[in-house]
Structure formats: C-alpha cells, structure tokens
C-alpha cells in the first residue's frame, strides 16, 4: 500500500480524488498557501518539512511547518503562491505539472484559511538543499512509514473557557515535533495517501467550515 503512492497508479488515484477541490479552490483568494512536498529519500516515500527561522518575527517563529507563505497580489492562484514560496525558501523549483491537487484548507484560529497544495517533488536528499537562512533554519524529511506508526502518533485536547474545544494530532520522535496546523495538514495527506492505515485524530465540534 505504501510504495504504491509514488507509483503512476497511486498518483492517478490521488489526482482524481483531489480534482473537485482543486477546481473549486484554485482561484479562490486565500490568506496563505503551503506546499506539501511528497518526495522520495533514498527510495523511501517521505514528506519534507522546514523549521522556520527563530529570527523571524510573528507567531510562528521557530515552528515546524511546510514551505509556504502569504499570498502576494502578483500570484495567479494559490498553487502559484505555494510554488513561489518553496522556490524562495528552499531553492527548490517544482514544475506545475508535478502538483497533484489541493487539500482541505485549514484555519489558523479564526483567520482566513491556509491552503495546502500537494505536489510530488521526486527523489531528493534534504542535505543537498540550500535553504534561505533568513527564513528557514533546517529542512528535514519524515518517512510516511514513520508517520503511520502508532507509537509516533499522539493527540492533544485543547480547552478554552473551561470546556473542551478541539483535538489536534501531533507526530513525535522525529528530529522535531510536528504539531498544530502542520500536523493537521499531515493528517489530511496521510488519509489521502494511505486510506485505512491511519486513524484520524482531528476533532472539532465548533471549527468553522472552510
């Protein structure tokens, strides 16, 4: 099941599943977009993550995230934003044909949505990338097999004002902990790539619909 996701058959299946959402969301304005890079590190399928620079100001400094950023008025659509940001942050040029589709947008605590764009970037070695040091401190890859193991998965219940609000997934035992929106996007990706193999954790009775 896992090796299939990088095969032509797996790709076709994912593209087909994402077609509807992609058509609907591509041109819709959004606050930000991120790229979910599905790569192959020494033959093993993996997702590529960045560690945002601690020198950045703002709420997400030092966090683990996917390459991406705010939408610029000059960008044609969200896919374009994701690819541009990836090129600026990692020096990695991903051609548009390699984009498989758009996943469900996620909300950063009530603000405008962040749109994840799934693309296959082929075989690469994270050590060979030259990230932009002002924005990215570190690049690392987590194999899908690692993410799918139950002992590396966790969850956190969040409360506010004395009652339960939502549950977010968290992925452990990598070089850095993957949490927050990045973990939610990872969850969506795993559900798409390996259906049935992953037990989703995200639960939110009152999260606004995207």
């Amino acid at each position: 099941m896992l090796p299939d996701c990088l095969s032509a058959e797996g790709e076709r299946r994912c593209r087909r599943l994402l077609e509807g959402a992609t058509a609907r969301l591509r041109a819709r304005p959004a606050a930000a977009a991120v790229l979910v890079p599905l790569c192959s590190v020494r033959g093993v399928p993996a997702l590529l993550y960045t560690l945002r620079s601690s020198r950045l100001a703002g709420r997400h400094k030092g966090d683990v995230s996917f390459p991406g950023g705010k939408c610029d008025p000059a960008d044609q659509d969200v896919v374009h934003t994701a690819l541009r940001e990836t090129r600026e942050e990692l020096g990695l040029a991903v051609p548009e044909e390699h984009v498989w589709g758009i996943l469900q947008p996620v909300h950063d605590r009530g603000k405008a949505p962040v749109v994840p764009v799934l693309a296959s970037v082929g075989p690469l070695d994270p050590q060979n990338l030259r990230p932009n040091r002002e924005e990215v401190d570190e690049v690392f890859a987590l194999p899908l097999a690692h993410l799918l193991q139950a002992q590396n998965q966790g969850y956190t219940h969040f409360c506010q004002g004395g009652c339960f609000r939502y549950t977010l997934p968290v992925f452990l035992h990598g070089p850095h902990r993957v949490w927050g929106l990045t973990a939610v996007i990872t969850e969506f990706t795993l559900q798409l790539l390996a259906p049935g193999a992953y037990q989703p954790r995200l639960a939110s009775p009152v999260l606004p619909r995207g």
């Binding site: 601690s54 100001a57 709420r59 966790g154 969040f158 004395g162 949490w179």
Partner: protein, 496 residues
Amino acid sequence: MAAVVLAATRLLRGPGSWGGARLRFGAPACRQFSSGGAYPSIPLSSPLPGVPTPVFATVDGQEKFETKITTLDNGLRVASQNKFGQFCTSTDRFDSKDEILLTLEKHGGICDCQTSRDTTMYAVSADSKGLDTVVGLLADVVLHPRLTDEELEMTRMAVQFELEDLNMRPDPEPLLTEMIHEAAYRGNTVGLHRFCPTENVAKIDREVLHSYLRNYYTPDRMVLAAVGVEHSHLVECARKYLLGTRPAWGSGKAVDVDRSVAQYTGGIVKLERDMSNVSLGPAPFPELTHIMIGLESCSFLEGDFIPFAVLNMMMGGGGSFSAGGPGKGMFTRLYLNVLNRHHWMYNATSYHHSYEDTGLLCIHASADPRQVREMVEIITKEFILMAGTVDEVELERAKTQLMSMLMMNLESRPVIFEDVGRQVLATCSRKLPQELCALIRNVKPEDIKRVASQMLRRKPAVAALGDLTDLPTYEHVQAALSSKDGRLPRTHRLFR
C-alpha cells in the same frame, strides 16, 4: 556509624529481640561502646564485635541495593527499596479518616496525601511489622473511598478556602506558577488549572468523582512503592489486596482516558491587580509587580534534563532579603548579576518544572511597578547570557550544589519512596543516586551552551501580575529574546 545507631535502637527496645550476643539492658551495656575508660578502639570502618551483622546498613554507606520492581497481572507495578531501620513507608495514590488513623496508631504510623500537576500520592509510614495492615489500608482507601456527602461538603469548603487564600496572600508564587503554565501550554494538559475554579466547586459530586476514578485509577497507572521492606513480602501483600479486587466505582472500562501529549504554545497571561495593600498584618508590604518569563526545556525522560537542572542551579537566585550563608546560592548568577547590582529588585528566582513529555524553565522577578520595563530587560539579558560562555568555576559550583541537594533530600525516607514511585511510574525503572551524580558530573560547558541555545529558539511564555501599565508587549519580549544582547526594542515615548 549506621551500625551503631541500629544497635542503639535495638538496645532500647529491650532484651531478647535477637538471639546471639546477650547485651544487658541499660547504662552498663551502652558504656561498653562509649568513649572514656578502657574500651577497644574500634575504627568506624570495621564492624563492632558481638553485635549481629546489620542487614541493610553497611559500612561503606553507598546505596548499593537496586530498587526491585515487579509487575502484577493487572498492570500494577510494585517497587521496593531496601533501607535500614524499622520504619517502612509506602505510597500509592489517597484520604484520611478517624478509623484509618486509629488503625495506624497501633503501628506507630502517620499518613498523608499530596497532589501535584501530574501525580497523586498517598503515603503511609509505619512500623515494618505492620506492612500487611498498611497495604490493606491503602488498598481500601484507594479502591473503596466512601465519598459521603458530608465528606464532599467539607472538602468543598476546604477548596473554597484554599482559593481565597491563594488570592489574598502577599506571596504570589503559586498563582504565578499557574499563570505561567497557562501561558506556556495554552488550553491543554499541564496548562489547565490545578486549582479548581470557583464555579466548578459546586458541580463536583460523587458521580463526577467516580467517573474520574474509573478512568484514571486503573492498575496500569498505579505504582505501589515501599522503602525498608522485603520485596517478596510487599508483592505478596499487593497480590492479596490489590489484585482482583473490585473497586467501589464498579468495573466499567476506562473510556475517556486523556492521553494528550503536552503541547507547548508560548504566549502571555496578564492579571491586573491592585497590589498596594496586600499585607495581612500591621506592617506595610511594598507594592510590587511580578513577572515570570519561561521557555520550554525538556522532559525528565530525555538526556538533556540533567544539563537543564544544572543550568537552573547555576541561575539560582532568591529574594533580595535573604540572610545568605553557605549553600544558599549567593554566588549564583541571579544574585551576582541581578540582585547585587540592582538594589531595587525584590526578587529574582529561577525555577525548572519538568514533566513526562515537556519541561519549563522560568525566571520570576518582582519590583516596583514603575520599573517593570527595566526588570523585564534585565531578565531577558540574563536569558541571552545563558547561551554564552560558562565559567568553569561557576559550573562546578552548580554541579556540586545539585549533587549535594540530591543526596541530602534522599537521606529522608519519604523522599526516597516518592522518588521510587515517580520514577517507576514514568519509566518502569529507577536510576540510583550514584548514576544521577555521575550524569551530573559529566555535564560540560558545551552542553549548557547547547541546551540554552536550543531553548532560546522557542517562543517565550510570559505571566504578569500587579500594576501592568509599563509592561512591554509580548512581541517586544519575544524580540528581546531573539536578539544578540537581550535588549528590548526601543520605543519612542513623549513622556517618560
């Protein structure tokens, strides 16, 4: 020396307590080993003649005995540590009532219950002959609490009193600790309040308590630990009282166990409060604003825990009105760099809270409300200096202080079993003090620098209490902690 103590207590208990040498009761027997007159000069390193060999007290004084751990069929862990003497102490998870006290009285025992953020401990200390009764008592109290309405009503009043007391006292430390946890772990796990909020006190009743007990008081989340007993005897008692018994809340399965992973978020929690009149007595207390700035460290299960503990010791600190003296940390950084140089600072103390999946290193400072900005800047500068050069002498002093604190605390029996209980609960094994000391000795300046730099990359957690008009914004504090020198960003103000 330990052997002599053992002999003396046996003597006081009366003749015939063991076979072998027949020592007479009273003064003549004691005089045999006392100084003065003709007596054999026996060095402290060799055993006394005519005295039976002590079992647990050995001359070299090193705690050689490993902690023995057994897991019962239902997941309950039983751990014991050998220590000389007649007293044994055991802990599980619990409540005291008159009958319990009467039972314990027969065995010369005392009991106690303590709760912290992540564990609850029920402790009983009694004569070692009473081990069976004691374990039976603990089992009864943990698994079959009666929770009568009268008890619940009294407990509700006690909780209310504790909450009011918390808000009234001049020392803000418990309140600030709650606030910094809330700021650091927004809305989850250890960030949730430890003290029951007022509106919830009335809502807690028997059903609520039973549902909590059903989910969390399961055998795999419990450890029965004892010090000063034979392991096999303890396991036997555990099997008798804790295996296969049906708890008072029924045998429903635990469904809602929250195994959330603690998630550090960072953030700020402010509480504006008029602190001008907090003195409880006739002497006036100065009006102070208190701040606490914290950063995520690591859990006590990780290897980096020891360097963080040493770093915390190196920062040290305390109140500016401390009497000082040896061992009080007068040469720690917060005293030398902060309290000795800025006489208007009332307090600068460093704390390290560590849990199973996360940790928090924070510094508490208090000063007059008009100097809040300078105070914050001094603390941020100290944080930045943590990742700078570490003087060898300073490091050795911190390491020695940490080791001696560890050893001194472990001399007391209740602390030993708390240590055994906590370690076995978290890791199913126990590191002996010698191992911990070896790990402490291995800490080098590079380790301190590495863990401090790692810590500074994360978002800070800030808690502030009192008059907060001059408090810098969270973004400014964050910028200061990411800068090279720790200075707050300059603001242009027309009136100062």
